[in-house]
């Protein structure tokens, strides 16, 4: 059964209470949605008696065994823009402007019949989330509805169940669901799977009465086939810039982070960020991308996704409350962000060879990407690259992952441009003297043969003078995260 609710204003979501029974918590859900979604959402389609695999995994293993009766069916809400209409006789969805329903779809939210914490598996578009940050880690999620196949790009979220899962389980689930949609190499794990993966053995009861800590989360990510790296902040101080620079680098690499806030006894997923407005500083000194970040975006199981949190202060909590994070690496990333942070300033010792700007006048940004993504980026901007430099990037035998270091002056940063780029082998050992593949500006490049550079530095590197391509900068590489288009 399907119910269509047109909305003249987002507050009209209160109508959910008349169409959905109380065990799905429609009143609380309607308030949450009205408080968080933009007025661009103009209709909701309620899909009754929806079979949700995540809820069913907990139903079969927990709720069905309880004395209290729980229904096995869920309700799913779908959100659309103003162009979409619904014919109740034919159950047909139509857009007034074109036949691409996906372009007018803002995502879905499953409601579980559990009375409390009823928001289940959800993927919402950051575009209609009030206050969502500019850059969000997202994957395309396929949605089957009434014979239509819709796609929504977002990050998965859900409320914690409280009995079979707590906030940290929900955070692990969100990350792993993102991985299974984003990377074909990872399988899908359901809510109950996540709860069980945290344990060494089946404890019999599924009540995680003691919550879930960093070691269990690490265990879950390991069991899921990733290679988790735990990064903890120095104790008893929030002044640990290296911790936050790493955090920024990994998020900018497109890796969602399991973020633990022990003092608040809470865990969230960091899924994006917002740059601060460009500034002109009178004080000389090299800066890092973390210095240019205004806020982080988090998925918190107490709220709808993509909440912006400031670096410090804030009404909810801030980046200062995060004391540990876990990045779930794919295989073959051996050179950590902390090593890149130390290596990047040393590149200025090669400044005379490639013509780098003064170190004190630059902003450094570094992130991981794949060799193929780098080549795709370069191919799309062929006109920026000297033909031999382009050929070099296409020919170097990159391992799957590379670190990109972007070096920009303040004015270049303000216009999304950069002065120089270094490509570092993400499979390098932290003790390597020269872990680079390439370092280039618009006039000069240094090319490294990774077969020989480790044996003899001088023999493994060559210089390349670049022809004038009619520009003095390169475009910043912004392709790991999805830019939010606020609606």
């Amino acid at each position: 059964m399907y119910t269509w609710i047109p909305l003249s204003a987002i507050a009209d979501l209160a109508q959910l209470t008349t169409h959905i029974s109380s065990e799905y918590g429609p009143k609380a859900v309607a308030k949450k949605l009205a408080d968080s979604l933009s007025d661009a959402v103009k209709s909701v389609l309620i899909e009754h008696d929806y079979t949700d695999k995540d809820y069913r995994s907990t139903y079969y293993n927990f709720y069905a065994k309880k004395g209290q009766h729980y229904r096995p069916e869920c309700v799913r809400l779908h959100f659309f823009d103003a162009t979409v209409s619904f014919d109740e006789n034919t159950l047909r969805l139509t857009s007034a402007t074109d036949d691409r329903l996906t372009d007018h779809y803002y995502g879905y939210m499953v409601l579980r019949p559990t009375g409390i914490g009823t928001i289940g598996r959800s993927v919402l578009s950051p575009d209609v989330r009030r206050g969502a940050s500019r850059y969000i880690i997202a994957a395309a999620h396929k949605v089957h509805l009434l014979g239509y196949t819709l796609m929504i790009r977002g990050f998965p979220s859900m409320d914690q169940h409280r009995d079979v899962s707590v906030c940290a389980h929900a955070s692990c689930w969100s990350m792993l669901r993102h991985y299974s949609e984003r990377y074909p190499v990872y399988r899908e794990f359901l809510t109950h799977d996540i709860t069980m993966m945290a344990q060494q053995f089946n404890p019999g009861g599924l009540v995680p009465s003691k919550g879930l800590g960093v070691p269990q989360a690490e265990r879950i990510f390991q069991a899921a086939g990733t290679f988790p790296l735990v990064v903890a902040r120095k104790r008893n101080t929030v002044i640990d810039p290296t911790f936050y620079r790493q955090l920024a680098a990994y998020v900018d690499s497109g890796f969602p982070l399991f973020a633990a806030m022990h003092k608040r006894q809470h865990a969230v997923v960091v899924v994006g960020y917002e740059w601060r407005a460009p500034v002109n500083t009178a004080i000389a000194g090299m800066r890092y991308s973390w210095d240019e970040i205004e806020s982080l975006a988090v998925v918190d199981d107490n709220h709808l996704p993509y909440i912006p949190i400031p670096k410090s202060g804030g009404s909810l909590y801030s980046a200062e409350d995060i004391d540990t994070f876990i990045v779930a690496f794919p295989e073959k990333i051996f050179y950590p962000a902390e090593a890149v942070e130390r290596l990047a300033p040393a590149l200025f010792k090669l400044g005379a060879v490639v013509g780098l700007p003064p170190q004190d006048e630059t902003i450094l940004r570094y992130f991981i990407t794949t060799g193929s993504a780098l080549r795709r980026f370069v191919r799309k901007r062929e006109s920026e690259f000297d033909p031999q430099l382009l050929k070099t990037i296409m020919s170097l035998p990159f391992a799957q992952f590379v670190w990109i270091v972007e070096i920009a002056t303040e004015p270049q940063w303000a216009t999304n441009q950069l002065f120089a780029r270094a490509i570092i082998d993400a499979t390098a050992s932290p003790r390597e003297l020269m872990p680079l593949w390439l370092l280039h500006t618009t006039t000069e490049a240094l090319v490294f043969d990774r077969e020989t550079v480790g044996l003899e530095l001088h023999a493994g590197m060559r210089g390349l003078s670049l022809s004038d391509m009619g520009h003095t900068t390169f475009t910043r590489m912004d392709q790991n995260l999805r830019p939010t288009q606020t609606k």
């Binding site: 409390i116 914490g117 914690q160 409280r162 707590v166 906030c167 940290a168 003691k210 919550g211 879930l212 800590g213 070691p215 269990q216 690490e218 735990v230 990064v231 903890a232 120095k234 104790r235 633990a260 022990h262 006894q265 809470h266 865990a267 107490n302 004391d323 540990t324 950590p336 902390e338 090593a339 130390r342 290596l343 040393a346 590149l347 010792k349 090669l350 005379a352 060879v353 031999q388 050929k391 070099t392 020919s395 170097l396 035998p397 932290p430 003790r431 003297l433 020269m434 240094l446 090319v447 043969d449 077969e451 020989t452 530095l457 001088h458 590197m461 060559r462 210089g463 390349l464 003078s465």
Partner: protein, 64 residues
């Protein structure tokens, strides 16, 4: 089987780099950067170990 071309043989215009231009970089890496990397990675590993010991704290939102 054809001889495998090195990266340097595939690209035109490459020239050797004056070894003197690398001295500062090599010294910086050897004397400062690599020892620092080794030290900070070990320090961070120990911090991660400490963080794992805080597992008994309940990561559950009490407001709910």
């Amino acid at each position: 089987m054809a001889k495998k071309e090195t990266v340097f043989e595939q690209i035109d215009g490459l020239v050797p780099v004056d070894p003197k231009a690398l001295v500062d970089f090599e010294r910086e890496m050897t004397d400062k950067v690599i020892p620092e990397i080794v030290e900070v990675l070990e320090e961070r590993r120990l911090l991660a170990e400490e963080s794992r010991l805080r597992e008994l704290e309940v990561l559950i939102d009490k407001d709910k």
